[in-house]
Point group: C2
Chain length 330, copies 2
């Protein structure tokens, strides 16, 4: 019998469950895997594969419907590296796997069948081309494959490593050490002060986009101390209380976004000019107008400000604060 949380009637209520990439309902069986589990899964008549090439996923279109998981033979034209395939888990007993593809999506000479497209992870999520659960499986596969390609040699001795357990670890052929997939915790926090919140823009953002501040949790930090340090480094703002809101697996490349609200204890922004192009307070009314598409326009008649797409946890933090009263400390 599959775990209870695979039952479609089990509907988690936390904020995390609404976020893109969070809905993976596969039965991973990570603890019960044999080293030949991929070989056996490949022989399973109902095995389904997701094919990933440099951040893009192979989709086959059947009219409007996009199909992300394919039978073995459907990927054979796309330079599959079967020897690097990983087992994601099982859905109703049928194995699901991810396989890296050798093809280069940016190759001008690449010819694909008319019904096949290579789509990047963000577009997949924004356009809701896969189901909530399949997007989560894609995130699992992308993050795990990215880690495997970064761990082909042993960091301790430089020896070659080999995959074990269908991808749950790698084993050094030389010093025999095992290593396990890496997940990098990042805090992302909406700083709130009464009726206003703090947003900043990185030089990498499209013009007009503002988001919550964020940064990696460093060694020897708690969630709360990481929130205070990062907020202070980037904006100069002091944070008192910190409240957990939601987590999101973010496959760029293998991150766990930890979304929080921070209670600002100060007003004056001292921007880190190396990290941020701008950093400013927005009132709730300004945010509501921006979210509703009624914010101020530039001279070119495009929105002066916008927040990240709703697949990003930053969007959820902003929306849940502005519309639903989350993150109020007083």
């Amino acid at each position: 019998m599959p775990p209870y949380f695979l039952d479609p009637n089990f509907q988690p209520t936390e904020h995390s469950a609404k976020l893109a990439f969070s809905g993976n309902h596969l039965d991973r069986q990570s603890e019960a895997r044999e080293d030949d589990c991929v070989d056996r899964a490949m022989e399973h008549s109902d095995a389904q594969f997701i094919g990933i090439a440099r951040g893009r996923v192979v989709l086959r279109f059947n009219g409007e419907d996009a199909i992300g998981f394919h039978p073995h033979d459907h990927l054979s034209d796309h330079q599959p590296r079967w020897e690097r395939a990983i087992l994601l888990g099982y859905e109703n007993g049928a194995p699901r796997l991810a396989v890296p593809l050798g093809l280069n999506p940016d190759d001008e000479n690449l010819v694909l069948p008319d019904d096949v497209k290579l789509v990047d992870f963000r577009s997949l999520a924004i356009q809701k081309l896969l189901s909530h659960s399949e997007l989560g499986q894609m995130a699992q596969g992308a993050a795990t494959l990215a880690w495997h390609s970064s761990a082909r040699y042993c960091g301790r001795c430089g020896g070659q490593t080999e995959m074990k357990g269908g991808g749950v670890k790698r084993h050094c052929q030389s010093c025999k050490a095992d290593q396990f997939p890496r997940t990098d915790p990042v805090v992302i926090m909406l700083t709130v002060r009464g009726d206003k919140c703090l947003l900043g823009r990185s030089p990498h953002f499209p013009p007009g986009m503002y988001s919550a501040l964020a940064g990696f949790v460093e060694a020897g930090e708690t969630m709360e101390t990481a929130v205070r340090r990062e907020t202070h480094e980037e904006s100069g703002i002091h944070i008192g209380r910190v409240r957990y809101h939601a987590t999101q697996p973010w496959p760029f490349p293998h991150t766990l976004m930890i979304g929080c609200y921070g209670e600002a204890l100060s007003d004056e922004i001292v921007r880190d000019e190396g990290e941020l192009d701008d950093c400013r307070w927005f009132t709730r009314d300004e945010i509501l107008a921006i979210l509703d598409g009624n914010g101020p326009l530039t001279e070119d008649d495009v929105p002066q400000f916008f927040t990240p797409p709703n697949i990003a946890i930053a969007s959820r933090l902003v929306t849940d604060w502005a519309r639903n009263g989350e993150g109020q400390f007083d």
Copy 2:
């Protein structure tokens, strides 16, 4: 001026702040570091070093007082690997560093001065031999040094890597890729059902010790889904709501413990016999008796049950539930 959170008057109120290893108040300046920052710090007349050898820290005793940070020359008899020293940060402008030692604490022929001892991280914390902030600095140093020793070769190409920025990253001399310190998120959850909570014991525990269940967050999981999967795998119990309680940096070797309460939706335990020797429900009265030292005794007149030492977040989860009403879902 140092950041506000280094001011002794700044007293964070979250549960995380009370946990061992969480009080690091150094000004890390991670973003502003030059590659020669360790060399310059070593020349600073007030530089202080913590020396770490295979999980043990050099302490010098001045009567009852234990000193964990030492001037440069005080470590020269302990086989310091100065070329691997990392910068932790600054305290009142004076640099603090961590240096790995070549000596083997388990060497029977090791001779140390009378006032010097090598103490493991757990004992340091349990016996409160260092201040709250210094314990946190030790955790930062231990976790970061452990990562450096596991990342001496590039996982992508097998080339040799070198430390940069005083330890904030490593750079591959061959393929030029950078890599950053690793922090592994782990969920640890006290599962609660009305007036009882669920504890298990691993085969590695001392006899009689029971603790909250725990496990690594896997790729493509949220905090909540990791809590549900791990709890189900180990105990068969179904979890509904999940509530964040606290995080703790745990330097074994470089983990972020994410402590939660889980709302049990079922009673019947199906123990993972490979992972746990025992798993059982304890009533609040039983837990209170155990915490007060009034729990049942074995035939040998020793406590039949005990929970982890209070430095562990598991202890905090149990105590805060039993004594302070945290983690009640109804």
